[in-house]
């Protein structure tokens, strides 16, 4: 692999992060980030690599987590003595088993049929998790003490950083496996089936079997991520396999870009940060995430990852310079438009409160606050409309030759 340096750098970064951000909270956020990264990577094996859009991927994450949580609990009760470092394997096995059971029926067809079955199964499993109290533990979920198992080299995983490094090793290994899977003949075949199932079949490959293989890989690593979630939180509840969680991972992948291996990583990191920190400033954090998502699907089909790759390509060819001027001319109106939009939404959400911005006191009850903001936004959008064509032209021009478009 030519990207050894990149992997080494990633490992170094993983090692250094908790040294830089060492509070209980930041290690907690880092931990969540790791779990989200692996979950998103596993999902992209399905979506980006196999072209299978699933609305029920949280099922495998959740079931893997439940298997791990039950093992954790049994260890705490003393029935079994499973070392913590092996728990993710149990979770992965749980995910694999679930994917084998459900995947053998749902991957027979691709496209819309697959998406619909995933939706149906997702809804069914989410409902079943609440109804079947004996296994899923009802609303209170299944919880276990991660320090109960036999200690490894004196490490008992009481401290957050120990859990972080444990998760980091597993996520690193998982990412390595998923990256390697893309390079195997089977992984390549999955892309072929994604792009042209008929042709792949004519060459003698069974599209259904390739899809199933992809599905199994994705389910296994989702289960692994679920186990890491159970270890980190020491509890798992039915929320983990709910539809909201399934939507979240879709959001991460699209935000980061499904066409690149690092896209979901970027999306997972961004989304975790946003949902952890945005709610400190506003009650509308979910709305902003929704807007970001829809905007991304509309204007950045390749995701933020795609944007970065395109920028990087232009930079490598020394063409970034000619973009700078139109970009700068668009920056101010864009910022103004975003600002007015955010202020309008915040104003709507805060009835009876006064918003102080740049020496102005904005109030929901004051009609001039609304008109002023709307006018400000309108002027900004008019300016943007005038400047945007130049940027678009420059973008097209710098990308026209030499630069490969689309997926690598």
């Amino acid at each position: 692999m030519g990207s050894r340096k990149a992997w080494a750098a990633a490992a170094a970064l993983l090692g250094a992060l908790p040294l830089l951000f060492d509070s209980v909270l930041s290690v907690g956020i880092l931990n969540q980030m790791l779990i989200a990264v692996l979950f998103a990577l596993s999902y992209n094996t399905l979506l980006g690599q196999g072209g299978l859009l699933s609305f029920g991927h949280a099922v495998y994450f959740g079931l893997g987590g439940y298997v791990a949580a039950h093992a954790l609990r049994l260890t705490e009760l003393g029935s079994i003595g499973m070392p913590l470092v092996l728990l993710p394997l149990a979770g992965a096995a749980g995910g694999l088993l679930a994917a084998l059971l459900l995947g053998s029926v749902s991957t027979r067809r691709g496209g819309t049929a697959f998406t619909m079955i995933s939706l149906g199964l997702g809804e069914l499993l989410a409902a079943a998790a609440l109804i079947l109290v004996a296994f899923f533990g009802g609303e209170a979920g299944i919880s276990g003490d991660r320090t109960a198992g036999p200690a490894l080299l004196g490490v008992n995983f009481a401290r957050e950083t120990q859990v972080y490094y444990h998760a980091a090793v597993w996520v690193f290994l998982g990412a390595l496996c998923l990256a390697a899977f893309r390079q195997t003949p089977a992984g390549r075949l999955a892309m072929a089936v994604r792009d042209n199932p008929l042709r792949a079949q004519c060459l003698g490959y069974s599209a259904a079997r390739v899809r199933l293989l992809c599905f199994l890989v994705a389910g296994t690593f989702a289960g692994l991520a679920g186990a890491l979630f159970a270890i980190h939180n020491e509890i798992i509840t039915s929320q983990a396999l709910g539809t909201a969680n399934a939507g979240q991972v879709l959001l991460m992948c699209f935000l980061g870009g499904t066409g690149y291996f690092l896209g979901p990583v970027l999306g997972a990191v961004l989304l975790t940060l946003c949902s952890a920190l945005l709610s400190d400033y506003t009650t509308l954090s979910t709305l902003y995430l929704g807007l970001l998502f829809v905007g991304c699907v509309m204007f950045l089909p390749e995701g933020l990852g795609g944007l970065l790759v395109q920028l990087h390509a232009r930079w490598r060819h020394g063409r970034l310079g000619s973009l700078a001027r139109p970009l700068a001319r668009c920056a101010l109106p864009t910022a103004a438009l975003l600002l007015s939009g955010v202020l309008l939404l915040e104003l709507a959400a805060r009835e009876g409160e006064v918003l102080h911005v740049a020496g102005l006191a904005l109030q929901a009850a004051n009609v001039w606050s609304w008109l002023g903001l709307a006018g400000f936004g309108a002027v900004a959008s008019l300016l943007l409309r005038r400047e945007l064509p130049a940027l678009q032209a420059a973008w097209q021009q710098t990308g026209a030759a030499h630069i490969s478009q689309g997926r690598p």
């Binding site: 979506l47 072209g51 859009l53 609305f55 029926v105 749902s106 027979r108 067809r109 496209g111 819309t112 049929a113 998406t115 619909m116 079955i117 939706l119 149906g120 199964l121 809804e123 069914l124 409902a127 109804i131 079947l132 109290v133 004996a134 296994f135 939507g247 879709l250 959001l251 699209f254 509308l284 979910t286 709305l287 929704g290 807007l291 998502f293 829809v294 699907v297 509309m298 204007f299 089909p301 939404l345 709507a348 959400a349």
Partner: protein
Amino acid sequence: MADALLFATLNGLVTGLLLFMLASGVTLIFSMMGVLNFAHASFYMLGAYFAFSLSQHLGFWPALLLAPLLTGVLGALVERYGLRQVHRHGAVAELVFTFGLAFLIEELVQLFWGRATQDFRVPALLDFPLFTLFGQDFPAWRAFMLLLSLGIFAGLYAGLTRTRYGLILRAAITHPQTVANLGHNVPRIFMLAFGVGTALAGLAGVIAGPVLGTWPGMAASLGSLVFVIVVIGGLGSLTGAFVAALLIGLLQSWAIASSVGMADVLALLGVSFPPDHPLRDLWRLTLPQVAPLLPYVLLVLMLLLRPAGLAGNRED
């Protein structure tokens, strides 16, 4: 038992026809653009909320007319400035776009109307029991719902098969190039059709809002169900959607009325499990307990056994 069955059938019909009003729009849009509109139920929710707000100023009946119009205009705008843009990025992006849109509309509704259930009432004119049978009233409003949705079905069917516009629309679905060559503006036809579809959803919202509740979760609770119907009916088939909607409405209603459970099945088989069996909840399940989940079971079975759906053909 007979009375329960009769009521179950009546209620099943009301629910089924309501579901069809939504499913017809989804079907129409799928035939045109090949995209399943995840946000369709969100327009149903918007219809209910628009009608609630309008009825506070104008009274219910003008709202019944205006709210679907408003919803339709909004739908057409979404098609023009949203979906058409995303169309270039492929089918998956379109589906994901409508998924994001559904999420966004729910958030916006919460922002503007709040999170609580709204006090949206049946108009006084129709707020009386139509008849009482075996101690249970059948509200006049439900009969109105029944009639209105039947009327919509008839109107839609006639409109698509008997009028010039219907002809052009159907031609545009199958042969967009030819229709464009004949001088019709195909994108505008699609935009209008999208508007009509969402307006229908809005109308469904107006008539369902007062009885099924007007709250931010009303779209999510119906959205995936409408999908299920469209898929079971066979993607793109209006008749299939009609049959599937009625089937699911009746099936749920009857399942609730029944009282069969796993315990009966096990007794029939002569099997028994200890009360502390790890899967004990599974052996105690009853049909009414899982009735609202039956459509999903049906969906999975249908896709396995007859992937094209009830009335679908194998071409697409």
